[in-house]
Symmetry: C3
Subunit: 395 residues, 3 copies
């Protein structure tokens, strides 16, 4: 329990306003706030491993709103709620985009009378997902101000069009574990690179989340993609500014090999070009199935020109000592396993398979930490209480 | 906690047989029983606000059976179960009408081995919903008598073809809160009126629930609708009898303006005529899609003749002091917001938006109160125990 | 509580390796292990009836994977999880058969970070269901060995292509209750016989589970079916061997009347011939809708030749004293009730209706017992602890 005590001490020493704001983009949080979430997640994971229950809620609902299919995120969120003592309740709105205005305002209040957390995943429509979350947040604030809601539920961004903060923070927690501490990440080279996949339309939020967050801790971040596979320009600008402020660096290259050279960490993953996502958003809004089909055909043909963006043994040999840490948010498109040709070869993936599982295992704790930080101005004190009460999770 | 103590005292002083019967129609309960449910709901809401947990069940299932789509009622029921410590489990029968007889009897028992509550929403088929609930109730009674079930789950009517008791009781709880107490409702004028909506086929259970319940407390209830938009005649008869017994009044008029004149409370809401619901039930049973389409077209044309049944500023000006309390079960059809022309103008709705949210916020507590009253012969004693134990809901 | 104390003493006296292996087929467990599960189930049921909570988990998830529709098993599993303090989380993979290899390995780990139990129902594909469960089990073992998972979730077979262990064990628990104890089952005659049903393609796992389990306790087991309605030959071989070892007997006949003669217990139930299930599996894999339709027509015609395999009063009159115990996993095809002609007449079913409900009521406790036995090397000690703590299930 020395670990937990040390973490609590660290948490108490960090200045944080997280109990007064939603964690919707990592770059809206201060470095100390990010560190606090990491430390809370670590404490919760350690308590769990020590068989100490972390149920701070004795009843209460956690709402989930998933606007596309999801297994991993759904289970991570469900696990986080369960860790804290909340019961999950799914809001099934259909997969169509929700009307804004009165509907959002009303629904947000109607589902929240007994809710302590609302997790939203909305990454299909460029320009809409994060905006929708803010609209929900404002409705909840209003509900509290008007005396409709007894308290403000934590709003959790489970992936939007701009960022995927629970993924990026889980990835960072994994890097912290792998390299020992955050300090050790300074000067580490990480390559966030596009990779070929036989599908199209994968969201931008993972690469954007990675370059938006990893540039905060003095790392040397390289973004690599074929020409035309841009991310949202404003997010790239955020990454550039972050790097300058944190004492790290940020650069863009158009070659996977170039990005891999000397890298400590590689994150090869497919995504759709920003411009394509804009067109796709428009076509989805218009329900233009023919247009969507034509766009898909065009993009798949375009993708097929870049099959050499493939994380192979040869590519890995270019990295530092030939054994950079391979990362992926999963599921990866593994050549010859989940598809004929994909993002990564079977032999590379197999070597890092367990590492990617451990990377993923942080997500429930990151989400739980975000909820805890939003609900308690003194999260250290509540963890201290859990530790002292020492209720067994399993008899 | 003085509030809760006073409520417990009140609860203890009320004569009630609610632990021995299902609460399927408000008019089958005595005035004291209705008051008891209101007082229990109030106590539960206050305990929650004071951060005292109300988990009387340490494990147990609450089953939900929804035979049509529902967000609000689903969340209210889930919240009620969670408040009491039960886990929700959904019985998904598809949306087709369930066979009766052996299937009902068997299913009711199969899902209830570990169940403490069963909530059913079945409002599509006139003559069937409430009857189905009674069939389930009889099967549960038999299961207990035969030693199959260890105890009788509470059966909750989450809306049927005849009544919507959780809605009507939540509405009444809101009126009690708004006007200070039940006594103050005596002599208040409430207008339950039809209003235009661009959809057809909205159930009769809300207006029927309102006239069936509000006539119990000495209110002056006016039911208003265009000619032909009748409710189930037997329910209108119930309202008439109730009013006579409670010292209030009940009248029917065919003009919204007439109903609004001098009203303290207005409840403008669309519904489908009783005769149409009968035809619709028959067509649904026969799976006659063409017939349903023809009926819908006919009804929409009929509705369109009554667009002047619209809750406008001018209409509101007719009410007492020009500021009657506007009520709605939500979602309302708001002209220019959720539809081009609807039940209420945006300006009227906006003025009462927060009021309608507060009205809705009672539903989880009303449902929880109904479960509590069904499970405990001495609900006051169990509330007293919760109060004394004082377990925190949130650490 | 004398009952529970006696059961705990019995549990402590039984040698069991159940905490180190999954309970995937009853014939892979020793007689003492089977007895231990029965005794744990009995203790849990008694504690529940005595209003003592059995929540050994203070938070934790139980995952469900249902590859076909299910109401009864779903509710039994949900009830078992709830009894133990776990929250249910459904993995919805769609109904298509899951890819094997990496996908299984990855998914098994991804859903298990906070899971204590995984229940799988996969009975559609002959040769695949049980194999899939073992693949999941191996992935979980690997996850624990690699440090990805903090502990090994219990894997529960909720029905596969070979066995239906939770059903067969619940049936055995019911027989133990009905006849007083396991010892009394020695020499009892049980007839597991095919019966006519207007549907085809019912799985083999129930009759296979029954002959595979009931032959363990010295019963005289008769398997009866029309020519060509074979079960999986290897399972019939298992039953034969079991009977030889337990001092009971096993025989096959091709007449329902022959099987019923002098029987103490009858279990008339439809199933599809083994060879048909093989063809069906192949056609399902090929997505051959025409082929499936042709096969169905052929089988229904074949079935129709055997409408005399009908559990009638006359047939029952052949049994011991004319009043053998009728068993069924439910729902039964009741002639004139759920179908024109089926497995059993209304009058026979009605006589044993409550008995079949009681039979079914054991399933939640059997599943909970399997989870408990998998998680605790000393299940008796944990039951002792529950008894001593004596936390009320309902206040």
């Amino acid at each position: 329990m020395n670990t937990v005590n040390a973490l609590i001490k660290q948490i108490n020493g960090l200045k944080s306003e997280l109990s007064n704001k939603d964690f919707l983009l990592t770059w809206e949080q201060t470095p100390q706030e990010l560190q606090q979430v990491l430390a809370i997640a670590d404490a919760l994971k350690t308590l769990r491993e020590e068989n100490i229950a972390t149920k701070v809620f004795n009843s209460g609902l956690g709402i989930s709103v998933f606007r596309d299919n999801s297994t991993r995120t759904r289970f991570s969120y469900a696990s986080a709620l369960n860790l804290l003592g909340l019961a999950q309740q799914d809001l099934d709105e259909g997969k169509s985009q929700i009307a804004h205005g009165e509907t959002v305002r009303e629904t947000a209040n109607m589902i929240s009378f007994c809710a302590d957390a609302i997790g939203i995943r909305d990454d299909m429509y460029l320009g809409a997902g994060n905006a929708y979350m803010r609209e929900v947040g404002a409705a909840l604030d209003d509900g509290v101000a008007q005396g409709v809601l007894p308290h403000r539920p934590a709003l959790i961004n489970l992936q939007c069009d701009i960022d995927h903060p629970t993924q990026a923070m889980a990835d960072l927690a994994w890097l912290k574990e792998h390299f020992g501490n955050l300090e050790n990440l300074k000067g580490k080279k990480i390559a966030m690179t596009w990779a070929y996949s036989p599908s199209y339309g994968k969201p931008l939020s993972v690469p954007q989340g990675i370059i938006g967050l990893m540039t905060r801790f003095g790392m040397d971040v390289t973004l690599a993609h074929p020409q035309g596979y841009d991310l949202i320009p404003q997010v790239v600008e955020v990454a550039r500014r972050n790097a300058a402020e944190s004492g790290g660096s940020f650069r863009q290259v158009d070659s996977m090999a170039e990005a891999f050279k000397g890298a400590d960490i590689v994150y090869p993953k497919s995504w759709a070009p920003y411009q394509v996502m804009q067109q796709r958003t428009e076509l989805l809004r218009q329900n233009d199935h023919d247009g969507l089909h034509t766009l898909e055909q065009h993009c798949l043909a375009q993708n097929a020109k870049h099959k050499d963006w493939h994380c192979t043994e040869e590519m890995m040999a270019l990295t530092k000592g030939g054994d950079a840490l391979y990362m992926h948010c999963l599921p990866a498109d593994i050549s010859g396993v989940s598809c004929p040709e994909g993002e990564v070869t079977e032999s590379v993936f197999e070597k890092y398979r367990i590492a990617t599982y451990k990377e993923a295992s942080w997500k429930p704790y990151i989400i739980a930490a975000m909820i805890l930080a939003r609900k308690y101005a003194q999260p250290g004190a509540i963890l201290q209480q859990l530790l002292e009460e020492g209720q067994k999770r399993v008899k």
